[in-house]
């Protein structure tokens, strides 16, 4: 049984679980997927990669940004059977760059608390070390929550 109270200009409603069981009849406007204003996720409506996505954290903007973009683009557009297997060189050069900045891109075997940047960046490296093929799951591992803000980057719908 919901219970309502008015305190001046403020209204307070208390609801039980049963009260809220029926689905809502509030109408929300459908989202336009081509809205130019809207923040898009990792992939833009045109199919390109949104390098400014908060999900990438600082990967595309750091000192190894160019190598990362090159490797990730290659993976994204790769049409091989094992996606990204033709991009090993680029991932390797990205890994080499990252090894020059251990503070920023901590290696997986470090058990000490991590520095200021993303931990998932270690995953693509681990995969490359394990196998000779470009890791198919590397880019997924890279997609991590934003490390600097509380913004909801994901498109709402």
């Amino acid at each position: 049984m919901s219970y309502c109270r008015q305190e001046g200009k403020d209204r307070v409603i208390f609801v039980t679980k049963e009260d809220h069981e029926a689905p809502s009849n509030a109408e929300l406007i459908a989202d336009d997927p081509n809205d130019p204003y809207e923040d898009h996720g990792l992939i833009l409506p045109s199919g390109e990669i949104n390098w400014n996505c908060p999900c990438l954290g600082g990967m595309a903007s750091g000192p190894c940004g160019e190598q990362f973009k090159s490797a990730f683009s290659c993976f994204h557009y790769s049409t091989e059977e094992v996606k990204g297997s033709d991009c090993v060189d680029k991932f390797r050069s990205m890994q080499e760059c990252m090894q020059r900045y251990p503070e920023l891109y901590p290696q997986e075997d470090e058990s000490a608390p991590q520095g200021g940047d993303e931990t998932p960046s270690t995953d693509p490296l681990a995969h490359i070390q394990d196998s000779d093929q470009g890791s198919a799951s590397a880019p997924e591992a890279v997609l991590a929550s934003e490390d600097m803000s509380s913004t909801d980057h994901s498109a709402t719908s």
């Binding site: 049984m1 919901s2 219970y3 305190e7 200009k9 403020d10 209204r11 307070v12 409603i13 208390f14 609801v15 039980t16 679980k17 809220h20 029926a22 809502s24 509030a26 109408e27 929300l28 406007i29 989202d31 130019p36 204003y37 923040d39 996720g41 390109e48 400014n52 908060p54 990438l56 600082g58 595309a60 903007s61 750091g62 000192p63 940004g65 160019e66 090159s70 683009s73 290659c74 557009y77 680029k90 503070e103 920023l104 608390p113 991590q114 520095g115 200021g116 940047d117 929550s145 934003e146 490390d147 600097m148 803000s149 509380s150 913004t151 909801d152 980057h153 994901s154 709402t156 719908s157």
Partner: protein
Amino acid sequence: MLKCRALWQKLAPLARASSTLCRHNVKRKGLRCDNMVTVFPKAQMSSGAPGSGGDNLMYILFVGAACLGGGIYTYRSLSEDKKRYQNRLAEINSREQKFPKQPLVTQQTESTAESVQETSEGPKPALQSEPIAVTEQPPVPSVESSEHVPVAEVTTTVSAEPMSTSAAESAAAMEAPVDALPEIPAHAPYLLIGGGTASFAAARSIRARDPGARVLIVSDESDLPYMRPPLSKELWFSDDPNVTDTLRFKQWNGKERSIYFQPPSFYVSPQELPRVENGGVAVLTGKKVVHVDVRGNKVRLNDDSEISYDKCLVATGGTPRNLQVIERAGEEVQKRTTLFRKIEDFRSLEKISREVKSVTIIGGGFLGSELACAMGRRSNESSLEVIQIFPEKGNMGKVLPEYLSNWTTEKVTKEGVNVMTEAVVKNVSYQDGKVVIKLKDGRVVKTDHIVAAVGLEPNVELAKSAGLEVDSDFGGYRVNAELQARANIWVAGDAACFYDIRLGRRRVEHHDHAVVSGRLAGENMTGANKPYWHQSMFWSDLGPDVGYEAIGIVDSSLPTVGVFAKATAKDTPKAATEQSGTGIRSESETEAVASSEVTPVAAAPREPQQGEEYGKGVIFYLRDKVVVGIILWNVFNRMPIARKIIKDGEEHADLNEVAKLFNIHED
């Protein structure tokens, strides 16, 4: 191009035919020269050759040769143009879609003599830069193609010259010694004034969108960019005795991070910025920009050095306000007053809180309440007395509706804080080793140290020199919906009074807004032209049991509708972070999917008892029946829904129905 070719192809046989025809005719006529003379004596209007057939032949040959020569010239120049045009298109396309390993050479060789080639490696700031131009080039390709071009063309030889000279310059520049570079670069393509959250977000955005961008941040602080919220929250809860040095905080799940956005190795030095391959972000600390020359596109620092820019961001933030009574109170009181904003303030206050017996916080807003709770928790272990005084009726009185503000005040009191509401400071003095605060209603507070958390004054000192408009209602620089103040100048963060398309003109002083607006400014500085659209949110934790997230205009003077459910032990900030496995709530809010576990809550259908009423729920703030603000009270991971409702801007007849969308009874 193609039309010209087609045209020429049509003309060529015609020309050939006509010249053949002429020659044949001449031959025939030449043989009968007598006839020619007698047959056409009076045809004065004809353009037949005067005089003899030999002259005629010469004339025909001459005209034919001239036509042929002209035709060859036109054909060659058209085909060269076409080739160059196609090359350029191919370069642009390949640059957009893929990022090839070899650095690209972009060339602007117009047929006019205006070609300018950017060599960003050389210390030649005078050359104009194109925002899109990627020019990490070894001089070799440019020399090759400059040979290509002046095959026969008159027009392009002019442009070939500056290219080869600039190629030579860049070759020379590569050998130039590093020491010759000034400590402060004379030119920065992207200049960001201010080294806070908005500036860093913009730097990141620019680097993501403009490959190889060179970004210079000028900060008057001595620290690299860092995030502010932990200074009044997480850092106080840390068990680490060295926390004031390391500035690292351990989160609920044990994951540690630093308040600095990036460690020092992320940045390049300002000295290296013009030369470093692939560009980077440099931070110039301890320098303040005192003058902006908008027409000349340059700024002057407090040490009289000048930096010119292409795009500039003003993200100067604000300075904490002080009470006039304290400013007039004399040096002894001022020595014992903290205006809390920066890392140094945190360090000094943390030390003081361990040394003194009593601390008083003036101000009942976000910062004041958070500091009160943080220090109140410490008072449980030490004998520190924490007092909080403010003129409103309850904590967050300007944000929360009255019933909720009262409830919050009780919680703050439970954290160990002596809260004095409806307290206006009349006079402050220093007597007998104690700071004495006299209130207007006669109460007296004796304390050792004061923390003033009474608001933020936006830093608009550059307005005069830069000719920037300052807003009289909200303070700060007035900018449009795209955060632009003037040509090539944007403003973001606390200092920006911007036009929000949905909610109207406003100025927001929250962390997430700094990130969102900084990122947007960075996008617009690289040509995006997007308005402020993604609504920023904010959050506050008052102890481990009370936390809320909010979005939009959350002003207690607006009518509100609150929908609440009874809270269980699972509905606390601590539980939310443990469940989502992240540290600060800021990280958990970016999870695309709401937390998955659903635990049934046994809710009894009875009237709520006193003291357990406002466990968790949703509060809607209305303006003309439209929801302009939402608070999620102890309800987490639902910000996308709230954002959507505000974005729609619809009038909803029954807000209880809207509240159903949030599933407040589930975790």
